[in-house]
């Protein structure tokens, strides 16, 4: 058994070195690979080949216009089903515009908005929301509405994805965040997210965006009822679409949190699962440029070490986040720009402040004392690896 898995990791490493693409079976084997550190080294190598030590972050803010939602996803602790329910909240335009206008950081480059699927707000309300933001701070990129929301608008207002996206772009939309992907495989999706865009519809919304030249991100919510096979399937569906469109900028694995939702009896994925999933994403998604360690989801310490397990992006300053914190995230509500820079430097990396579409805002020097010569020097390390020894 150990001999087989050892062979698999060696074979996968050989494939990577030859520039070959990994298969579904490779992906499944990697999830069972006991040699966790060597998996991390492989992902780190791919990451360094793509980005060197450069590690991206941005100065952004989160906004949630409404938590009223028609959908009833079992993993969600954020959504309130009806307007007027306890804790239900929908912003006014004025409040939303004020929050951006009064955001204290002059370096702010991005507003990231994800909402519930509100049953009654008209489409024009969303258009006006974006237009108002553009009037207040035209320089701030609006990364708004998940593929699920785009699909919801299309259905609700009787439009195509293209039509929805074209009108929102005209109102100021810059790109789509990656949320709402959950697990794309229907066996899982039907059990945890029955009443919103299915996997194909999520992908269709992103395909439409990419065809219009609107970039987007993509995600995967892991660690609940899905199997490793479902994760690999999910990643390959994203890879296939990316082959077609090249519109994804970044993949963000999202760890399931179990408080205040109907899956609360499930244990949360542990750090080793998070790092493993992130590393495998880096290895499978050879055509998506960036892999993000979203610190709100992983926690700050794990996100920092993730920068050596395949991640090249730490997301941003965020300021205020409700979705994960509703489900029990203990991560802080915000990190300052200085803290992000410090986290990246402590990991031996070079901090690069980016905008939403990965334009460089400022590349900062690395820490005075770098971690040192960090390349894998030779294959001697294998001798120390778990390959033949078990635990």
């Amino acid at each position: 058994m150990t001999a087989r898995t050892a062979g698999t990791l060696d074979a996968i490493e050989a494939k990577l070195q030859a520039g070959e693409r990994l298969s579904y079976d490779d992906g499944c084997a990697l999830f069972l690979e006991p040699d966790f550190l060597r998996l991390g080294m492989l992902a780190n190598q791919v990451r360094e080949d793509k980005h060197g030590d450069r590690t991206f972050f941005n100065v952004n803010m989160r906004f949630e216009a409404t938590n009223v939602c028609e959908a009833s996803c079992s993993f969600c602790a954020f959504a309130k089903l009806k307007e007027g329910a306890a804790g239900a909240h929908t912003t006014t335009h004025e409040a939303a515009w004020k929050e951006l206008a009064e955001h204290p950081d002059p370096r702010l480059t991005e507003l990231h908005m994800v909402n519930g699927l509100h049953p009654t707000l008209p489409f024009e309300w969303y258009e006006e929301l974006l237009r108002g933001w553009k009037r207040v701070r035209p320089g701030v990129h609006l990364k708004c509405f998940t593929g699920v929301e785009i699909h919801f608008f299309a259905q609700k207002f009787g439009m195509t994805h293209e039509a929805v996206l074209t009108r929102l772009r005209a109102a100021g939309l810059g790109s789509l965040p990656g949320g709402g992907a959950e697990i794309l495989h229907p066996d899982v999706r039907q059990r945890i997210a029955t009443d919103k865009a299915n996997g194909d519809e999520y992908l269709a919304a992103h395909r439409a965006a990419h065809k219009l030249g609107i970039p987007s991100n993509c995600t995967m919510l892991y660690g609940h009822i899905e199997t490793f096979e479902h994760r690999v399937d999910h990643l390959l569906r994203l890879r296939d679409l990316q082959d077609e469109t090249q519109g994804f900028q970044c993949f963000i694995p999202l760890a399931f949190h179990n408080e205040n939702n109907s899956l609360r009896k499930l244990p949360e994925p542990t750090a080793v699962d998070s790092l493993r999933t992130l590393a495998i994403s880096r290895l499978l998604l050879d055509n998506i440029p960036h892999i993000k360690a979203y610190w709100v989801s992983m926690g700050v310490p794990t996100a920092q070490i993730a920068l050596r397990f395949g991640a090249d992006d730490l997301d941003g300053t965020i300021i205020h986040e409700s979705i994960y914190h509703s489900a029990g995230s203990r991560a802080p509500m915000a990190l300052s720009r200085d803290e992000l820079v410090r986290l990246i430097r402590e990991a031996g990396r070079i901090p690069v402040e980016r905008d939403t579409i990965y334009g460089v805002v400022e590349e900062l020097p690395r820490a005075a004392v770098p971690e040192g010569a960090l390349k894998v020097r030779d294959r001697m390390a294998r001798k120390r690896s778990l390959a033949l020894a078990g635990n």
Binding site: D273, R308, E371
Partner: protein
């Protein structure tokens, strides 16, 4: 009974109190056999170039390692432990055959002893003794080695217990024991070579070619003045001037010539082979760097050496810390962990941290927990409060109470004795209590010795000491962050005594304040050295400083990557400490878990109450089920343990 060693106190934070005027800081030692080497220097031969001081022998290496001295008349073992020091050529303290001042003594033939008591004052002599004993026993299992104060050795040797005596006491006890092995003689018989005990050792690059000959000139003056030196020694220290002179003339060999160097190299080679000292290459002042060493050719080969259990020098550890890839450091530590714990079992203990008082007089800059004497938020837990906490612990399956607190001047030794007796009489629970700082506090408060305090506390029910308060065991760092606390030597002394009277303890390191990588490695080496001497540490735990609300110390080198690297390095450097704990209390359960692949084999304690770290804002909690789930997710089996790392449950 030894009270505080005078040297420890005299040198308390004395750094840079003397104006060296840009001169070399030279440290010698006040031994008879060192007098000829020092004579010229102490007579003003090089006053314009050097500032010369004398120090306790145990201080010499510490001063060199911690950059408090440039050149020291150092025993040779630290040359290997450091790995980067330069030898001043030409002079040494050695012997060619019998030396008389370093000997194994016993009532039975030494090779038949079951136990050998060591005067740990000279590590070089200890290593020599162990090599000779190993040779004499020719493949038989090693005897038990225990460190003891010299006077106690003289009093205890008998039956199957032998002893190692060094220095004046060895000379004074000539002919007192039935069996004696002169180690100089034994070495000569074993190798045909002279032995070198000490050399002038210098920090790399500090001694110029111009200064080096001054040391030989000093010796030449000293050799000529031996009769006067012997007489002066007899006047100052007692003894017979003639005997002193004979010792200097006939026993000590001061030349560091080809034969002496061959003896030195042979000693270091044999010590490294026996894994008593790190593998080392000698280098000399004014000489080009040493020859190619295949052992250290690359970081990779160094990692392999460490992963195989090779003993790392200071320089090796520094190189790994600065050059090794994080994952590779993890792989090497994981391999080493697997060798030491091949069953793949992760352990943890169910216990509770109880802080009996928060009143404290030390006002450490990194602490948000303490309250000064008289503060309205100061507390001492009542028996009722303690009862509740301990009952909860027992009900939750807890086997131990970790009891620590501030240095509260209102609480005397009797208070602790009463408390411990009451706890042990009332509850079925072990007491893991009082860090070295609290022990020193009682030593001062009661004007007793460390041994008296520990013996009384043990009689009252104390089972083991936690390794807290070590912070970083270099005095430079301690002076910056915890001025009022004991010195690193004092911290170690409590542990030494505790181990000697049969208690086990842990050792910790809190880094991320004023420490550098060198400080962290020196800390590990000090723990390793004491562990060689006593074997009393069960585990090492590193955690990182939590800079937050209520602390005044600015954060230094911190972060999760550094935390995991430090933990992995500790697994490699501490080749003689059996267990490494992950610190999920500061880094969170996730990194606690990942740490199991960076050298750790233990997840510490359930800690269902912790006040010190959480006062600074970090609040991570894990119960037994969570600990087990995290370890199993990496494929480990899990077992509960007690403080001595005996398993209390079947691994599953």
């Amino acid at each position: 009974m030894v009270k505080r060693k005078p040297g420890l106190v005299q040198n308390r934070y004395r750094r840079d109190t003397v104006d060296h005027g840009g001169r070399l800081r030279v440290v010698g030692v006040s031994f008879l056999n060192a007098q000829p080497l020092l004579h010229g220097l102490l007579s003003g031969l090089a006053d314009d170039r050097m500032h010369v001081e004398l120090a306790e022998p145990a201080e010499l290496a510490r001063r060199l390692f911690e950059d408090e001295a440039d050149v020291a008349l150092s025993p040779v073992a630290p040359l290997a432990t450091h790995g980067g020091l330069e030898i001043v050529p030409g002079c040494a303290i050695g012997c060619d055959g019998a030396v008389e001042s370093v000997k194994l003594v016993g009532d039975c033939p030494i090779e038949e002893a079951d136990e050998i008591l060591l005067d740990a004052a000279s590590r070089t002599s200890v290593v020599l003794a162990r090599l000779i004993v190993r040779h004499l026993r020719a493949g038989k299992a090693e005897p038990r080695y225990c460190a003891r104060p010299a006077r106690e050795i003289v009093a205890t040797v008998g039956g199957k217990t032998a002893g190692l005596l060094i220095g004046d006491i060895a000379l004074e006890t000539r002919g007192k024991f039935r069996y004696e092995i002169d180690l100089g003689q034994a070495w000569k018989e074993l190798t045909g070579l002279p032995f070198v005990f000490a050399v002038w050792a210098a920090r790399p690059g500090v001694v110029s070619a111009r200064d080096a000959p001054l040391f030989t000139s000093s010796l030449e003056a000293g050799l000529a003045a031996r009769p006067q030196l012997a007489q002066a020694w007899a006047r100052g220290h007692g003894g017979d001037a003639e005997a002193h002179l004979a010792y200097l003339n006939d026993r000590i060999r001061y030349q560091l010539d080809e034969r002496a160097l061959a003896g030195l190299c042979e000693f270091l080679r044999r010590a490294a082979e026996a894994k008593l000292l790190p593998v080392t290459e000698l280098s000399f002042v004014g000489q080009d760097k040493p020859a190619f060493s295949p052992q250290r050719a690359s970081v990779d080969s160094l990692l392999d050496y460490a992963a195989d259990g090779g003993r790392l020098s200071f320089q090796d550890a520094m190189r790994l810390a600065s050059e090794a890839d994080t994952h590779e450091l993890g792989l090497a530590a994981d391999a080493r962990r697997r060798t030491l714990h091949p069953e793949g079992v992760v352990t943890y203990i169910v216990d509770r941290n109880v802080n009996y008082t928060n009143v404290c007089t030390t006002s450490c800059r990194f602490c948000a927990f303490y309250r000064p004497v008289g503060h309205e938020e100061g507390y001492v837990l009542t028996r009722e409060q303690l009862t509740q906490k301990i009952e909860e612990t027992v009900a939750a399956g807890g086997v131990q109470i970790l009891l620590q607190g501030g240095l509260n001047p209102a609480l005397h030794l009797e208070w602790y004795e009463d408390l411990f007796r009451w706890i042990k009489a009332t509850f079925p629970i072990k007491l893991h209590a009082l860090s070295p700082e609290e022990i020193w506090h009682l030593v001062r408060l009661e004007d007793l010795t460390v041994q008296d305090v520990l013996t009384r506390l043990r009689a009252a029910g104390l089972d083991s000491l936690p390794g807290g308060g070590a912070e970083v065991l270099t005095d430079r760092v301690r002076a910056k962050i915890a001025k009022a606390k004991c010195t690193s030597a004092e911290w170690l002394e409590v542990m030494r005594v505790a181990h000697r009277i049969g208690m086990r303890t842990t050792a910790t390191m809190m880094f991320g304040t004023a420490d550098t990588q060198a400080d962290r490695v020196l800390h590990m080496l000090k723990v390793r050295e004491l562990q060689d001497e006593t074997g009393g540490f069960t585990a090492f735990i590193a955690w990182d400083y939590q800079h937050d609300v209520g602390t005044r110390q600015v954060a230094g080198e911190t972060g999760t990557v550094l935390y995991l690297r430090t933990q992995a390095l500790s697994r490699l450097v501490l080749d003689n400490v059996p267990n490494i704990q992950t610190s999920w209390v500061t880094q969170g359960p996730g990194i606690g878990q990942i740490g199991l692949r960076y050298g750790a084999n233990d997840m510490g304690s359930t800690m269902f109450e912790e006040n010190v770290v959480s006062s600074a804002g970090t609040t991570f909690g894990m119960d037994a089920a969570q600990i087990e789930r995290h370890a199993r997710a990496l494929g480990f089996k899990v077992a509960q343990r007690n403080m001595r790392y005996e398993r209390l449950t079947v691994p599953a």
